[in-house]
Amino acid sequence: MQSYVRASSVVSRVIAGETLIVPVRGGVGDLASIYSLNPVASSIWNAIAQPCSQEKIVECIAEEFAGEAPQVEQDVKSFLAEMQSAGLVETVGVPA
């Protein structure tokens, strides 16, 4: 099963209650930018501190934020795709 995990080339910090992602290595993200996560995105970021499947992430977010599963699934999917294209998230394992 495919899981998502934070890229090893970035580091996150919580400053003034906000989660910020800072690229550590060259070629990751946009060095002139800081990535800021809102509370839901921060929860996903916390969930993928260790490899975590999309299904598990959806389950956690739907429970924590009392969302409808289909909508949460759609949001999680697009968020992970966005993070992946910026090089902030990596996948491990093979897609189901």
Binding site: V11, R13, I15, V24, L31, S33, I34, Y35, S36, N38
Partner: protein, 420 residues
Amino acid sequence: MTMEAISYGEFSLGLHQQFADKRAPMEVALEVTRRCPLECQHCYNNLPMGDLAARNRELSKEEYEGILTELADMGVIWLLFTGGEIFARKDFLEIYTFAKKKGFLITLFTNGILINERIADYLKEYPPFAIEITLYGRTKETYETLTAMPGSFDRCIRGIRLLQERGLPLKLKTVGTTINRHEVIGMKEFAEHELGVDFKFDSQINPRIDCSQAPLGVRLPPEDVVTLDLHWSNIAAEHKANLDRERHAALGPRSTVYSCGGGLKSFAIDPYGQMSICVLSHQDLYDLRSGSVKDGWDHFLLEVRKRPRTRPTKCSTCRIRSVCSTCAAVSELENGNAETPVDFMCEVAHLRAVALGCEVPEQGDCECCRDGERRNAMLEAAARIASHANNVAEWTAPQTLLPVLNSSAAASGCGGCGTH
């Protein structure tokens, strides 16, 4: 859910606004060594590369790891690595990488002469937020007169090229001195037009932190400082805007000795683990080998920052502070007392204001104000500046470009202040 990529400018502005009324450590300057291969006379803290006693006193890599961990836990965002020359430390990249992995936004100050392909490649892999190289001249002759190190100009240019070839976020800067003042325009053109990078200059030179006055031997006179400043219309406009804003602001007398961000948003740590308000301030030091960074910030620096002024001076009600480069730390270095006005800076500020056509409200006991002994000379100099009689573009090299050596004399300190 969203992930927002915020530009650095937005991020910085937002954070500063959020912490505007709070005392919080956001920026820290870490001097990792004072050793440097160059022997520039204008430098306020350099020590010879072979100063074994200095090297042995420097914080170890492990001590830096402990400090950096604390700084990250305290919420510090911006980190400046400075020296001396940062790459004079063989383990600098290890300390730097540890800091990178803690998520700091890191700026490096370097003279560039020790940067080789290995270091440049490494920085490409782990890029800093910014790298600022100080250029001491546009020609080899001028550069090496100031640095007193043969071959240093070519090595600096090589370092600049290596970083630029790798697309690293490079900026150049210089310090205007009597040795290189005629090449400041050339250095700016080299940076901005040939390399396409930002350039800034500053003519502020202070006595050394060990009390030696040697740097003042190459300090530009006030008229040259201001002539150089106002040569560029954007700098002149910035000074003018600051003066206009200050004239309309309701400024009360300053009640505390320190009125900058030191101890409020920022602080410095020297190579030996002494924590202070800033890199220039060395009268109030907290030893991190005997206590934590958090204790130093929460208690020691708080008390330093709150220290009230003990007496009124001509600076107390000054209305041209926005164009004056003085501060408590500069007063410490120049006069040995954080509250004593620095007459040199006072004259520079008056020249800036008068040459820009701004009215300067009279201060008590000020040598540049009415009846002051420097008043007439200052007004004559301001008139020359305003009429462009002293044209920067026509400045030439000093008549004798003999190497300016400072090593033993400058590093010797005063021997009389009780700390050196």
